[in-house]
């Protein structure tokens, strides 16, 4: 039986933070992730959407912009455990990916495997380039193939 997976592009519609959304939009257009067992979603509000999107799947791959001090366009492969946890925000808008994943993990509600593809982005005024998006799409396709092969 094919493992059920979900690819979630995270971001907002403004500036370089939309790269996660652009990548999943490109994946949907290409329909390149194979069988219907892999669902592809955009996610603009991680705290409200991830708990629902991460249900009923065997693996999940999150795609998001990162700032890790590297060169813009660099693709990073991460695990949920890699994320720093500063979970004392002043607003519900501050409940982001790392907080939500950590919470779900504590509650035992994360899928067995969660991988993250991060794309290093530039300053706010520099939108994501077609090259970065293509690199992100390729990274997602390769990671999905790996996750499917593992039978996660």
């Amino acid at each position: 039986m094919t493992a059920r997976g979900v690819v979630i592009g995270i971001g907002s519609d403004q500036g370089p933070d939309r790269i996660g959304l652009e990548i999943v939009a490109a994946l949907r257009e290409e329909a390149s992730l194979g069988p219907p067992a892999v669902r592809v979603y955009p996610c603009r509000a991680p705290a409200t959407e991830l708990p629902v999107l991460l249900r009923d799947c065997d693996w999940a791959l999150l795609v998001d912009a990162v700032r890790a001090g590297g060169e813009p366009g660099t693709v990073l492969h991460l695990d949920a455990v890699d994320l720093a946890h500063d979970h004392c925000p002043a607003s519900t808008h501050g409940l982001g990916v790392s907080a939500t994943l950590a919470l779900l993990q504590l509650l035992g509600e994360l899928p067995p495997a969660v991988a993250i593809v991060g794309i290093e982005v530039g300053p706010v005024e520099h939108p994501p380039t077609a090259q970065w998006i293509a690199a992100g799409v390729a990274a997602v396709q390769a990671t999905v193939a790996r996750l499917q092969a593992l039978g996660a």
Binding site: C43, A45, A47, S91
Partner: protein, 440 residues
């Protein structure tokens, strides 16, 4: 051209790329001489984006101002545009918009109470630490939040940036079977919501009495979500179109966000005050419109009148969760699939205001439209900018009472505790507040 690289690396953070809040204190002789709070405010760009757009594009565009309260932006917008065009979508649309709004209140308030406020008042560092010892508490919050999202998706097509709202009504009406499925879950969740209210009433909340004016919508027949007149607890009672006669926006030198002031006697009068919008202000002005059971519980919990303690916002949110579930249940019990889910719209030149109660407070829109329905100008006043002066005044008194000789880390954490009561609509980086203190 640089080839994209792919590497495997362990990094400590998955950062968002929006702005941060910043707080600057000038302290002299143990007193705050100056306090400046900067909050990033996304709606300002949207006012310009909307110029030249067709009226029917506005609901989808304004929904993207906020990922937590998109319905609120859509509701204030369609109300204003429909007023400008002189159209009334009718009672079915009004009722279902109220249901939709109930979903947003439920989703937003549940998230806030369980993941932000509860850790503060139970003495935990954050929601993670709390979840380790009280997992059922967090699960309750996620259940209620998911239920709110389902209500939004029922009429909006999806829960984030919903696309079901249009000028004149909704694009589609849900099938009776979809409504019936949701109705069962709503009815089952009411006892849990009432238990949540009971729990908030039992919390030992900080005692902090302040003087402020509460501002919110009021309506003759209902607890206001989607419509009403604009009221204040000093007696103000005006049509929403008259908002600019009593409320002034101004640019504070230290902030990119506009501040708002309230002028009880009109803009020309120099007497001005900061004011509070949001759940506590709504409760202060509309308590008698709550369901009887909720009023009884508040009364039994020693809530005999209004509150001047912003820490009581958690109780107000819990009461509004009960209201949202009760109202959505009541209205969906009477649901019938309509012949049409919207009325036809004929644009005309005009301008009008719309105002509704976002989870965080009063959200006021104004549009001027050309004869072909294109937007000439837009003005959007979100609850967070209206609360900014109030937040600064609250911070000033709260931090002085806390003790300014404490470390900057302690001051920052206490400031965030105070700000969380308001649940401001901001974009946050990993650390919300960059705090700078100058002591002399």
């Amino acid at each position: 051209m640089t080839e994209p690289r792919e590497i495997k690396i362990r990094v400590p953070v998955l950062a968002r790329v929006e702005g941060e809040g910043a707080l600057h204190l000038d302290v002299r002789g143990g007193r705050i001489e100056q306090l400046q709070l900067r909050i990033y405010e996304p709606p300002r760009m949207f006012e310009k984006f909307l110029e030249g757009r067709a009226y029917h594009e506005v609901p989808d565009m304004v929904a993207r101002i906020c990922g937590i309260c998109p319905v609120a932006y859509q509701m204030s917008a369609v109300q204003a545009i429909e007023r400008a065009f002189g159209i009334d979508p009718g009672p079915w649309v009004a009722a279902m918009r109220r249901v939709l709004y109930c979903g947003e209140w439920l989703q937003s308030h549940a998230l806030h109470i369980h993941l932000l406020a509860a850790p503060d008042f139970l003495g935990f560092e954050n929601a993670l630490a709390m979840a380790a010892q009280h997992p059922e508490l967090v699960r309750r919050g996620l259940r209620l939040q998911a239920l709110g999202n389902r209500i939004i998706a029922l009429f909006g097509g999806r829960s984030v940036h919903p696309v079901g709202v249009r000028v004149g009504g909704f694009h589609c009406a849900p099938a009776q079977t979809e409504v019936d499925a949701l109705l069962g879950d709503l009815e089952q969740s009411l006892p849990e919501a009432l238990a949540l209210l009971e729990w908030t009433l039992s919390l030992a909340l900080p005692v902090q009495s302040q003087r402020f004016v509460s501002v919110a919508l009021r309506h003759d027949d209902e607890y206001p979500l989607y419509r009403g007149r604009l009221a204040a607890d000093d007696g103000l009672d005006i049509d929403v179109a008259d908002y600019p006669r009593h409320f002034r926006e101004f640019q504070a030198p230290h902030s990119t966000a506009l501040h708002s002031s309230y002028h009880p006697n009109g803009i020309g009068d120099p007497n001005e005050r900061d004011y509070l919008v949001g759940p506590l202000a709504r409760l202060n002005l509309n308590r008698e419109r709550l369901p009887a059971k909720v009023r009884q519980m508040l009364q039994a919990g020693a809530w005999h009148g209004t509150s001047d303690n912003v820490f009581h916002s958690i109780v107000a949110r819990a009461a509004e969760i009960c209201l949202a579930i009760s109202e959505a249940t009541r209205l969906l019990h009477a649901y019938q699939v309509p012949d049409r889910s919207y009325i036809e719209v004929v644009p005309r030149e005009g301008e009008a205001a719309g105002c509704s109660e976002a989870p965080r407070g009063t959200l006021w829109h104004h549009y001027a439209l050309a004869a072909d329905g294109r937007v000439r100008s837009a003005r959007i006043v979100p609850p967070t900018s209206q609360n900014q002066a109030r937040i600064e005044r609250d911070l000033s008194s709260a931090l002085e009472a806390f003790g300014l000789d404490r470390s900057e880390d302690q001051l920052r954490r206490h400031a965030e505790l105070v700000i969380r009561n308001y649940d401001p609509c901001i974009s946050c980086a990993t650390h919300f507040l960059r705090l700078s203190v100058r002591r002399r």
